[in-house]
Symmetry: C2
DNA sequence: AATTAAGATGTATTCAGGATGTATGTTTAT
DNA sequence: ATAAACATACATCCTGAATACATCTTAATT
């Protein structure tokens, strides 16, 4: 269970842009800063542009900037749009599911609930939150409800 | 972001055993039932035995059975023990982390909180729950707290 | 004792997908 | 024109999951 480097880099690009509000920043600058592959970042940036997170401009003095205010971008939203495969179990995808008991299996719903909880925690933080503060690690979510039929 | 087939199969084996309380069941029977690779299941079963979830017996009339009551086995506990890599982000593993900002980066804590929420939801269901009932999918966990410093 | 049915274990192979690189476009300020 | 930037399409490498195969050990049956 991992997020791809793609998602990781996407978040880092947005974090970097958030910390340099409004300024045009080049891919090279970001790649140098994080010491990661520029070639990889090129694609990350391309997709961030396509998905409306950043504005890109070509040519001299071109670069990237956030397309929306950092406080309006939710971490969960970004993860949902960049992570290529959120099918935690085979049975999540009806097109490829082979499990013979998936119709009557309650595991699917349980894992799906867990995934929902995961994303909803991420939805409670904005890019602006990330860019400024640090957060405590909380060890317990006792208030998460278990819903039985 | 996926769980491995390993974890998926592990859960299915335990579910199957739970539904046949006490009986000795062979790997072949389970593989045939789910129509999955027997060879793969062999290793899954081996690890489940090593980790104390099942009792295995060799020889004629050998097979598997649950080592503990189904109602004492938490789904989250199993996922934690079978999923080989729970490092959602590169920076989760200090040994391999390369991210230059991980010291001051709050993203790590946020994603970790989300993962904790994920596992804690799974911890609220036992194998016995799975084996009998079906559960509703819940779409909102508004009560998950955001903890700020 | 021999046989057979089961799991135990180690090794090998296949394959998909993530991570990365290369090359060539296209745009725009100077 | 030229240089500096992103756009885009392929190509390649590599890890690890998924699976197969072969051989061993154990234990019940005959």
């Amino acid at each position: 269970m991992r997020l791809t480097m793609y998602t990781d880099y996407s978040l880092r690009v947005l974090l970097y842009l958030a910390s340099r509000k409004g300024e045009n920043v080049t891919i090279t600058e970001i790649a140098d800063f994080y010491r990661i592959s520029r070639n990889h970042l090129v694609k990350v940036v391309h997709n961030l542009g396509r998905d409306g997170y950043i504005l890109t401009s070509r040519g001299r003095h071109g670069g990237l900037k956030l397309a929306r205010p950092a406080k309006e971008i939710l971490v969960g939203e970004l993860v949902r749009s960049t992570e290529p495969d959120l099918d935690l179990l085979e049975c999540f995808n009806p097109a490829t599911n082979q499990c013979v008991i998936s119709n009557s299996c309650s595991l699917k719903a349980v894992v799906f609930n867990a995934q929902t909880a995961f994303l909803e925690v991420l939805d409670q933080y904005t890019l602006a939150d990330m860019a400024k503060g640090s957060y405590k690690t909380i060890s317990s979510f006792k208030s998460i409800p278990v819903v039985r039929n």
